[in-house]
Symmetry: C2
Subunit: 328 residues, 2 copies
């Protein structure tokens, strides 16, 4: 029998989850839940239902894992505990500082409901966290480095769009190659914010806007751009659509550590991602962890889990025998 998946929230991430389900023959999409009028939401999967979010509870016994595709700022802190009482759930909560609090809320709700809730699944948090954790356990003496990009930062693009006179914009975060190389060489550099990443902005102006003033406003914007070397390109709306409508991302996690009786030997562990579509890749990670949620629940486990708590084999559709023979 297939693992029956529900999707709550049908934006970029929800659509990514829908696509990922299609690539996993042991899964099927049961229903998509939306806050919009379901009549106005058309999905790709034949035979799957589109329902209003208020109907979700009625699907309690027809969905094995509900994927929560809302945002981390306001949706997930409410939704994940709420739905963890009713369903096994997976979310991609990515506000790093609030993870302990979110974990506690989801843990309580999931235990109450006898369900599994896996939080903060994706690539950062998610696969990058896993690699930081494995690398720290293996090389206890060393330094961690995380670089993001080249990729589109949604938050920074939004910040550009809020500026008066900006019609549309995209922002790319770019790791500084020389900093990456210094880490790879085992130099263990101490890197400032400016030394790690640059920011590149593609901006479409409203008619009559003052380009020089806007460029200045961008480059001095606190938190977002002031601490970085920022480049601003003013382009046409057509050019933005033609060349900057993708959502690529990626990055690098490195640990540089020492071993030996006198710490005489150096080692570099590096993990990197180069992603054409950030939401589709995140969705692919989520779907692998949905399989884990289903299995853990079938074993009688309950409560909140993170990527740290789940044995890798739970993610794979292959059996232990197959994994040992083919991938070990």
């Amino acid at each position: 029998m297939s693992i029956r998946i529900g999707i709550l929230g049908y934006g970029n991430l929800g659509r990514g989850v829908e696509c990922a389900i299609r690539q996993n023959p042991d899964m099927e999409l049961a229903a998509v839940f939306t806050r919009r009028d379901p009549k106005n939401v058309s999905i790709l999967t034949e035979g799957a239902a589109v329902c209003h979010v208020s109907e979700a509870e009625e699907w309690k016994d027809r969905i094995d894992v509900m994927i929560l595709c809302g945002g981390s700022a306001t949706d997930l802190p409410e939704q994940t505990p709420e739905y963890a009482k009713l369903f096994n759930v997976v979310d991609s909560f990515d506000t790093h500082a609030r993870i302990p609090e979110h974990f506690a809320n989801v843990d309580q709700a999931a235990k109450e409901g006898g369900k599994i809730g896996i939080i903060s699944v994706g690539w950062d948090p998610g696969l990058f966290s896993l690699n930081r954790m494995y690398a720290n356990a293996i090389l206890p003496e060393g330094n961690d480095y995380t670089f993001w990009g080249k990729g589109v930062s949604q938050g920074h693009s939004d910040a550009l769009r809020r500026i008066d006179g900006v019609k549309d914009a995209k922002q790319y975060t770019i790791p500084v190659e020389s900093a990456l190389e210094a880490v790879r060489n085992g130099d263990n550099p101490e890197l400032t914010t400016r030394q790690k990443h640059t920011r590149e902005c593609f901006v479409v102006l409203e008619d009559g806007a003052d380009a020089a003033k806007i460029e200045q406003e961008i480059k001095t914007m606190p938190n977002y751009f002031a601490d970085y070397d920022t480049t601003v390109h003013f382009i046409s709306e057509d050019e933005l659509k033609a060349n900057h409508s993708g959502i690529p991302h990626g990055g690098f996690v490195l640990r540089s550590g020492k071993t030996g009786w006198e710490k005489e030997n150096s080692h570099i562990i590096e993990y990197s991602l180069k992603l054409d579509s950030n939401p589709e890749f995140t969705s692919s990670v989520i779907i692998a962890y949905a399989r884990a949620a289903y299995r853990l629940h079938n074993e009688g486990q309950t409560g909140c889990k993170t990527v740290f708590d789940i044995a890798p084999a739970y993610l794979s559709s292959k059996s232990g025998e197959e994994l040992r023979a083919a991938l070990l």
Copy 2:
């Protein structure tokens, strides 16, 4: 209380384990067991015992995890099942084709003894296997690539030393940069053996040996060199000692996969290691899994496990709360 570690076999790997224990304050070395006369084996750790391997059983209640540092060809197939009846054990069994059989033997023995046996721990098998598995679960449609090096291959160095007229030798396995780049670009190349790696040999000749004949013999040696582009350098014994006495290694695991409703988006997951000391790094991985063996046993679990079966958090000395706050 510290986790009390035993080391069985005191070669490069055993010494690496000894060094790794020193970097993990929750562990202590209890004893080293050797097939040699213990009087002739001097170890680095003050206060730890050196015993003959025949005394191991007497340490049954004074060692929490025994690390088996023998070779995969003949030692481990016998030793791991034997000692898994008495101790929690970790080995680095690396004969990929025989892993299923080894797993079955260790599983039976460990269950009989009420112990945990973790096999095939290191970086390949080990961390590379983990990365292959995670990447396959996340991107079910795609291609896997593993490149090794630049590093010293013990097997190929031994093959060189067996040639008549060769006094000593070291062989480096080197990944072909252009092949790596093609994979990183998402070209999904089909690569022959020759296209993936080159082999570089540093050879010290016996007095009067025929260099041209030996070079020919190396380059045409079946299995080891015939299928590769091989370079041979004849050097002096002093030069070999000065420049080639390290045991560096490393490599790359990549998965190139597609997502999207029409598989329109490409993704590259890459994991790489650059290691000054192959045995010390392998030992560091083993020691993290020794912590896992200790904890799994304390939870009442028994039997054989691999890296696929163990939740990442078991490897870390940090608590779940600490991991979530610092590394997620």
